[in-house]
Symmetry: C2
Subunit: 386 residues, 2 copies
């Protein structure tokens, strides 16, 4: 197990009525709250009223920033930063999924500096010295942002979707009530599950391939997701299935399963370019990219793909070459994505083959993988995904 | 997945030369350090000199409390508390294994109150309002104390070994360098591994038995321990094996695998009574108690024991009743403990059958299990262990 640092101070309240802990948490912060949310589903579902009532009982002054979109954009971040500065906001309370939380992290970082948040943090990756505290009420299990320090924001006029990570950006607390997911549309459950699996894959398919606890833990998360998606889709009020998917999504990206792993993340980078151009759901893009990335890189780590095929998909190795076993496991991933209703080709989401070169040019490749990829590799991976 | 709260702010530095991070951490605290350690193995091994040198370079004043024994006792805690109060200690630096860390947690809690630490916290379980900050340099993987808020201390004149847990007691940082374990005697590796497995068992064998991520994660830790103990014993400088066991021991009790589980802990309570009387190594006591506890309670959760037998020990269920499968799995645990050199009977550690009733009377039973145990049950479990 290789060198690593682990730190994650987010306090999690999980389960039915976890919101009962909100008042205690609010008591730890000052008077001014910025309530941040998305398109209004929390108003329809009643959560907005509940949160406002609790804030009211705690004597808080609540400001609001709403309409945070999927693939949250810089404009919305600037809007939040302005409110934070104008009203001396003491806590930003994100109510929503990964887009709301990611957007709020950018606001939190930007609120405590006079510099431009996008250029300073997301582009130049400067250290964030201070941030407005963040609290989360999660409504959509997918990104893990509720228990990590990362954030992805899109600058739409440049088709740039960029990430930033800093210890300052861990939420102070996150409230995870699986019953809030009962009313989600099926495709959000599907994309959330794909995102969770993709996070596990990025960490699992990377050096070192030694015997290490993190890979066993990643397999545990992957297996638990697979055993729950269909149940969660069949019955939206299946608490067991919904709660499992919610905690799996957190565990997949709270850094536990990445300890001691270099981590790849190039499939995410490719997906960021896709949704930076086409604004497709992140989970949809990942379902398209991942199996094709796997086929493309499998020769760099065949043993790992064989282990994956056998342990996760129960592939019987008898009479097969390692490459045949690996390919059968990869095919199982793609078949699985298709079976739960995720797209697996660019054509399905309306991305034409002609734009592949242009998209590939925008991919900000990382170096954590078995072998660095080039833009040419990305073109090949995307061509296979048409 | 049932309701839970998760919080764990300890910062982990893992890997070769993780001590390089000590100076940065020391910089976060005041000038007065209490260096706490055990019987002097850190002096022989050279770690003492290294730590003192780093403290010196950071301009710290170092006080010392040494000779902390396995199953640490109240007397030693009072000694540390006195130093903390007299010298306004800003950070207690524990260099050692679980006994040193547990002892230091009791000092940290006691240093910030005029009340008696034993009566107030360990007996009456009052909330700890403040504690002296703790840092850890781990030399023995076993208890997980380096990344949790729990502590067990023994009042020897009453044969009472009692635990206490409070959020104040999480170490601020823990330095985990697997190479520090290269010089450990084999039996400490063995008992450490048993302790790690026992921690996973306490959480895994408890309600609810629903499908939940925690059980998958517990299995991951258990499997990784089993795949590494023999390698670690065969070659003390096998970094991969030693590093896996070190992180497994932390993961087994940093609360991750217990999320949403009621947790049993009665086998630990029985063991605490054994070592409260006989001062045997904690891991030795657990190896004796656990398989017998398993046989005794298996009918309360046969499905769980079947899953355990199949997934962990590869028991082939064909043509067997559930009880036969469960028993085969439990036998595998006991055989495994014996194979790595742990005792599996009371006789082996010199505890006579005649004292069972007296020991059982001291067991402080918990109620997290499938069904509460009585002192009579404990007598039966211990009788089976003769």
């Amino acid at each position: 197990m290789q060198k690593f640092t682990f730190y994650n101070p987010t306090r999690i309240y999980f389960g039915k009525n976890a919101i009962d802990n909100l008042a205690t948490e609010l008591g730890k912060f000052g008077n001014n709250i910025l309530l941040a949310y998305g398109g209004g589903s929390i108003i329809k579902g009643g959560l907005y009223d509940i949160v406002k009532a609790i804030c009211g009982r705690c004597g808080k002054t609540v400001y609001e920033v709403s309409g945070i979109m999927p693939n949250p954009r810089t404009e919305k971040v600037y809007e939040g930063i302005e409110i934070c500065k104008k009203h001396d906001v003491d806590l930003i309370l994100a109510v929503g999924g990964g887009s709301v939380i990611d957007c709020v992290k950018a606001m939190a970082a930007g609120a405590k500096t006079d510099k431009d948040f996008w250029q300073t943090f997301y582009r130049n990756k400067e250290k964030c010295e201070a941030a407005t505290p963040i609290g989360v009420i999660l409504t959509l299990p997918a990104t893990g942002s509720e228990m990590n320090s990362g954030s992805v924001v899109t600058k739409w006029d440049e088709n740039l979707k960029t990430d930033y990570t800093d210890d300052c950006l861990y939420p102070h607390f996150s409230i995870l009530d699986p019953t809030y997911t009962y009313t989600l549309p099926a495709n959000q459950i599907i994309y959330g599950a794909v995102d969770t699996l993709a996070h596990a894959f990025e960490q699992y398919f990377s050096a070192p391939d030694d015997d290490n606890p993190s890979d066993y833990l990643a397999e545990a998360v992957i297996l638990n997701v697979i055993s729950n998606v269909e149940k969660a889709l069949a019955c939206p009020t299946d608490y067991e299935a919904r709660s499992n998917l919610m905690w799996d999504s957190t565990m997949a990206l709270n850094r536990v399963i990445g300890c001691g792993k270099r981590q790849d993340w190039n499939s995410h980078m490719i997906e960021h370019a896709l949704s930076g151009f086409y604004d497709i759901p992140h989970g949809a893009g990942l379902a398209i990219v991942f199996p094709n990335w796997m086929r493309y890189v499998r020769h760099l780590c065949l043993g790992r793909f064989v282990r994956f095929a056998e342990r996760i998909w129960g592939v019987n190795p008898k009479g097969k070459t390692d490459d045949e076993i690996a390919l059968e496991g990869i095919q199982a991933v793609q078949d699985y994505f298709r079976s739960i209703g995720a797209p697996t080709t660019l054509t399905e989401v309306g991305i034409p083959a002609e734009r592949i070169e242009e998209i590939a040019a925008k991919v900000e490749l990382t170096e954590g993988g078995y072998q660095p990829l080039t833009q040419k590799d990305v073109v090949e991976i995307l061509k296979a995904a048409v």
